[in-house]
Symmetry: C2
């Protein structure tokens, strides 16, 4: 049973344990500062497939398979997969997972999908509707480039505010258990994002479009729970990048909330922006998914950290809406993850 | 608290009441057999907007606004909206609902979105994470035609198995109440769909692609609950159309399950296929959403019917996957709706 605090914020009272997780990253991510943390690095951007779209699907299936195998689970043990991605009609997920025959909830939250999937799967597990669920998402540099920007062969110049869509996937297995066990990791609360649109219409500046949503979700969760940033080891955002992270911190400072000492942004962590020419950092659903599963969850499991807020932020526009002169709405979902 | 029966099937024990609902339909739907049942018929396919995409967003906002106003609710009363649509990146939903500032979960289930949204919002309401939630979706003939098929001005010939994407929206407001009240309507169970792909690759024959998923979900729910088709007033499918409905019934007959006497398909009901030249019937997320909210929920509220299974079926391909030679995976979600 979840405890209601209103406005999309809740605490989960039942023990919803993070039983397993896995991360898979591409070649460029595998040469970045987090290389040693990923379970697998796939150097072939086609992952042995005929198309990049098929490769992205295979990244997602690989992350799920790894997470499931780590605990010797079989597919019949899983009651639900929550998944989505950036490809039109979310086919990265549906084609990647179609052979599993596991009940499937398709999500669309753009780069907020990892936190959104953790929210939905943890609450559905908490309700008792399912016992074990998986949240997974992916992104692929080449599927995103040709869909959102231009064909890769065009060789377009990237703007200073742009980010680099990660080729990566991360999967988390959640399990409803009878009681909290010491030294295990649990999802203990969440905050469902609200759509925020502050009028940004530059598709190469997603960080600025997403910052207001990120700041609003952090502020709303801290206020509702009566906590302050220093109560958490880290407040982690998904892929705000350099510009978006700075803006989010500024927006919160205007409300006298200083997250600077313990803020980390997966988009700023996954690449060495100077050396790897990735401008403002990484992005894409797979960015926060792979950094959560590769870097932060192992630290929670080992006890190095004990208490984090994990947000993913997503920009909800499409090439068509931008061509039609619309601005870019964004959203940020949050889950509270604790080691007991 | 939901009662777990495994394999994505659950009973909801808490009273999750359908507090309100509304339907909005376009001009062609407003000349069909169900014209008198819709709350509003909008004759202008642009709904006063500059683009069809903006019009679809407005249909969705209008359905939500109508449902909320019917019970004199304000947006602050709503803790969660679950929404999705067929437009790339689900912008029909995100742009339509962005000004509401209500916590938002974006879904992608293609034409299965209405049942998927009811599943997610009812379970999240059941868990206690939210008290009042909305499930809503939409589709628009012209946004779908130009994205999935060809520009309307091309005037392409339609195949006999094709369906006509409905311009319509439907919204349902769910509320957690303290106990079951007589003569009120509740969501009492559900079945999360599994992706099924039987190798169909004809994008103009969605009914055949979706039939295996529809049959599997119905069979799985009946088996898990120990019920038979005659236990329900209606077993309603979303938009299988003429071909898909026939196939679904055949697939179930092969398993000795005869749903024919009480099967209804929203896609077969919304148009007069002969007179309106709609071939196999209506389709699109808005088809099952508007027929549920316009036709079936009022009959449950009045007591004319008491017990239905409502499924929406969705085909999860994209134009890109079909161009790449892939087959069409599909999914069908189910909710059990009862009048107490």
């Amino acid at each position: 049973m979840a405890e209601y605090t209103g406005q999309g914020i809740f605490k989960i009272k039942n023990p919803i344990q993070i039983e397993s997780y896995a991360s898979v990253a591409g070649a460029k991510e595998g040469k970045g500062p987090l290389a040693e943390y990923f379970d697998e690095i796939i150097d072939d951007s086609h992952f042995g497939c005929a198309t990049w779209e098929q490769a992205e699907s295979k990244f997602q299936l690989e992350a799920v398979s790894l997470a499931v195998r780590k605990r010797n689970l079989v597919k019949e043990d899983i009651d639900l997969i929550c998944s989505g991605d950036l490809i039109n009609q979310c086919t990265g997920s549906s084609y990647g997972l179609r052979d599993l025959e596991i009940p499937f909830i398709g999500l669309y939250g753009a780069c907020s999908t990892m936190a959104e999937g953790l929210l939905v799967s943890s609450v559905m597990t908490d309700s008792g509707a399912v016992k074990r669920s998986i949240a997974v998402t992916s992104s692929h540099f080449s599927t995103a480039e040709r869909q959102f920007r231009s064909p890769l062969s065009y060789g377009g110049q990237r703007t200073p505010t742009s980010q680099w869509t990660c080729t990566a996937s991360g999967a988390v297995v959640l399990k409803s258990v009878s009681e909290f066990e010491k030294n295990k990791v649990y999802i203990t609360g969440g905050c469902i994002g609200k759509i925020a649109d502050m009028g940004i219409n530059d598709m190469t500046n997603m960080g600025s479009a997403m910052a207001p949503a990120g700041a609003e979700t952090i502020k709303r969760y801290l206020k509702a729970t009566g906590t302050v940033p220093s109560d958490y080891d880290y407040i982690i955002t998904g892929d705000l990048g350099e510009v978006g992270s700075t803006l989010t911190k500024q927006l919160l400072m205007n409300e006298n909330i200083d997250i600077s000492p313990n803020h980390r942004d997966c988009g700023c962590m996954i690449f060495d922006n100077e050396k790897q020419d990735t401008h403002c950092g990484g992005s894409g659903c797979g960015c926060s998914a792979s950094v959560l599963c590769g870097y932060f969850l192992p630290k929670l499991e080992s006890g190095e950290i004990k208490n984090i807020l994990f947000l993913s932020t997503g920009a909800l526009m499409s090439p068509v809406t931008v061509q039609q002169g619309e601005t870019i709405p964004a959203i940020a979902h949050l889950v509270h993850i604790e080691r007991k």
